[in-house]
Amino acid sequence: MATTEDKRERIIVPGPAGFHPPSAAQLGVSLPDPGEGLFYGLLEKNEDKVIEEMARKMLTSPNATLFPGPMVLWAWNEHAIEKAKATLEIAAQIPNVMIIPMPDYRPKYPKIDPEEVINPNHPNLTIWGNKIEACIFIGVHCHYANLTLKMIRAGTNCCTMAICAEQGHEDAMLTIRDSDVLKLKKTAQIFKKVREEMGIKLPENGDNVRFTGTQSKVHGGKTHTNPLTFMPSVAGTGSASAFGHSAEQMKREG
């Protein structure tokens, strides 16, 4: 297994970093160039090493969680559907992982259900509520991801990771950029390799995603599910196109 031998002091590490710590940009962290990643605030020339560290953290931290955002939650177009499927391939490599969505960006008042959603205006409530110590954001618009990552670093001990379709996120402890479908599939394969090297097995029935309490209730008390059995619904596809988001408009990388 490849490990980084970087002896530089890590800059962006799991918190709580303080009442209101400076942003990563204020600390001098800059975004990676194509092919690179950020490894605890340090530029890592080989993004695969960053992905391997993501896998290690997700496989060993309590209550590891995937936070999918609108760009992979809603079936805007065929490309979004492909990215959603690839995201679930990553989930399928992490035993007992939770999936909690960030479906939109409005503040949730008067009270958020931390087992139902995460929200960029008060993301630490979901982290605290589920005692999440490692998480991956994927498919969240960059501005809102950056707000979220800053608040989580300030107030929680969660190791944050961001798989970004654009330039990456300085405030995440681990981040990669330009994440199209191919890179997501590669990420899933690296997760598989690391998991096997660590001797961690998946459940034989494929039910490796753990429901939150709220999710369990709406699934008739079932506690786990197989992420690869989920498929986008016709209604989801229709709802996206009904609001004018044609494939061409929403076409992203790839």
Partner: protein, 440 residues
């Protein structure tokens, strides 16, 4: 040629005359070819023309694939937006209208940018301040646009003369702020502004400031790319925020819901939101370096006895002062600050680490650039910083004023043009400062 000879459609023209084929006014615009920003800024051949700053802005807009331009008259930018209106007639700008006043213009620009189109307004002086509520909200909403500010007096009594104090109001909005020295800068900064503004990791408005009249109404040589090419259109779906409210139809007018509930969470989100805006300002540095060649330019700084740091028209005056100093045998360097936000802090610290004297001439009373410079190099340079000379209220800046400050700064002679309170830095005579402080 007499007037009669150039008329082509006189009332007395015979009805049977064959009508000339109707020319499509948008024909040339339709032929424009999209090129990459890299080609546009770094490779495309250029030809030189002698034009005004307003014409330079017009030519920049012609090549910038602008969707929406909104005008409201105020001197000295009225001519600029009138010329942009000509571009609308020619089909280079897709939508153009006159707003009711600056509050409305800036609000409409917010709406246009939020809906995903490339926007361009311009204003000046009191218009800037009237529109400032809207302008200051753009960065927080992550609205890319380029706005031109042709600076003039804002204070009472009313005047329309050059004075760039309005820049100081723009510096803390969270937007990117460039300061153009001349017509060439107006052209280059405006076009690069659109590209930088719309980068996903930036997604912020860009303000291109210039000193009104000196730049807008005067002519200078501008090297421009062929008018047959233009920048790629805005790719709104690649912004840091969704276009309008894509996830919650029907679209709300405000994409970002208010967060002013009275609890810690609400304060916290606004705090990190502000951090994120300024982080985006930081991220723009690499694009300014890539497309504009740097946040500043430095001339003859190595081994200079003194360095003049200036922006806008003051840089032009300073360049002449440097020449006069050279004739007198004084080696003086010039640093022209092009980007005020982000500010070239690291670059100035490096350039000024061995400098003994810095002179900062400005076209405003408050000396916002001198304060920025002093803050940036504090602890990194022992230079004496003379925050002046300053002219304002429409005054021009005699080059000799700048030369005087260089000479007096180097010889220790007291200046008659710069207040003691505007002299900063490690080499200042502390007794003089103490005397000054006792006397106020």
């Amino acid at each position: 040629m007499s007037e009669a000879e150039v008329k082509t459609n006189t009332p007395s023209a015979p009805a049977a005359a064959v009508a000339a084929p109707k020319k499509d006014p948008h024909a040339e615009a339709k032929k424009q070819r999209v090129v990459t920003p890299e080609y546009m800024f770094l490779e495309a051949p250029r030809t030189k023309e002698f034009i005004t700053g307003s014409e330079a802005a017009k030519e920049a807009i012609r090549r910038s694939n602008v969707d929406l331009a909104i005008a409201y008259p105020i001197t000295p930018q009225s001519e600029t937006m009138q010329l942009v209106g000509v571009l609308y007639g020619e089909g280079y700008v897709k939508e153009y209208y006159r707003g009711e006043e600056e509050v409305g213009v800036m609000a409409a620009i917010a709406g246009g940018s939020r809906s995903g189109v490339r926007c361009y307004p311009a204003t000046a002086g009191p218009g800037t301040l009237r529109g400032l509520e809207g302008i200051a909200s753009w960065p927080g909403h992550r609205l890319p646009a380029v706005a031109m500010f042709t600076c003039r007096v804002v204070n009472a009594p009313l005047a329309i003369q050059p004075d760039n104090i309005e820049v100081s109001y723009l510096l803390n909005c969270g937007m990117i702020v460039f300061h153009a020295e001349n017509q060439q800068d107006m052209f280059d900064f405006t076009m690069a502004g659109f590209t930088i503004s719309e980068k996903n990791d930036v997604t912020l408005p860009v303000g291109v400031c210039c000193d009104g009249f000196f730049v807008t109404h005067a002519r200078g040589y501008v090297r421009m790319q062929d008018r047959g090419i233009k920048l790629p259109p805005r790719e709104a779906y690649r912004g840091a925020v969704p276009v309008l409210d894509a996830e919650n139809p029907p679209a709300r007018l405000s994409r970002d819901a208010p967060v002013q509930k009275s609890n810690f969470m609400a304060y916290n989100i606004h705090a990190v939101w502000q951090q994120e805006v300024w982080a985006a300002v930081e991220r723009s540095r690499k694009y300014i370096n890539q497309y504009m060649g740097g946040l500043l330019t430095a001339e003859n700084v190595d081994g200079a006895e003194a360095v003049i740091i200036a922006s806008g028209s003051a840089a032009a005056q300073s360049r002449e002062a440097v020449r006069i100093c050279a004739e007198k045998g004084i080696k003086v360097g010039l640093i022209k600050v092009r980007s005020l936000r982000p500010f070239p802090t690291k670059e100035l610290r490096e350039l000024c680490k061995n400098t003994k004297l810095i002179v900062v001439p400005e076209f405003n009373y408050v000396g916002w650039l001198a304060k920025e410079v002093a803050t940036a190099i504090y602890g990194y340079s022992n230079a004496k910083i003379i925050g002046g000379p300053r002219v304002y209220g429409g005054q021009s800046m005699p080059v000799e004023l700048i030369v005087d400050e260089v000479e007096s700064g180097l010889t220790g002679k007291k200046s008659t043009n710069v207040a003691m309170s505007s002299i900063m830095g490690g080499a200042v005579n502390q007794d003089e400062v103490s005397h000054f402080m006792r006397s106020i």
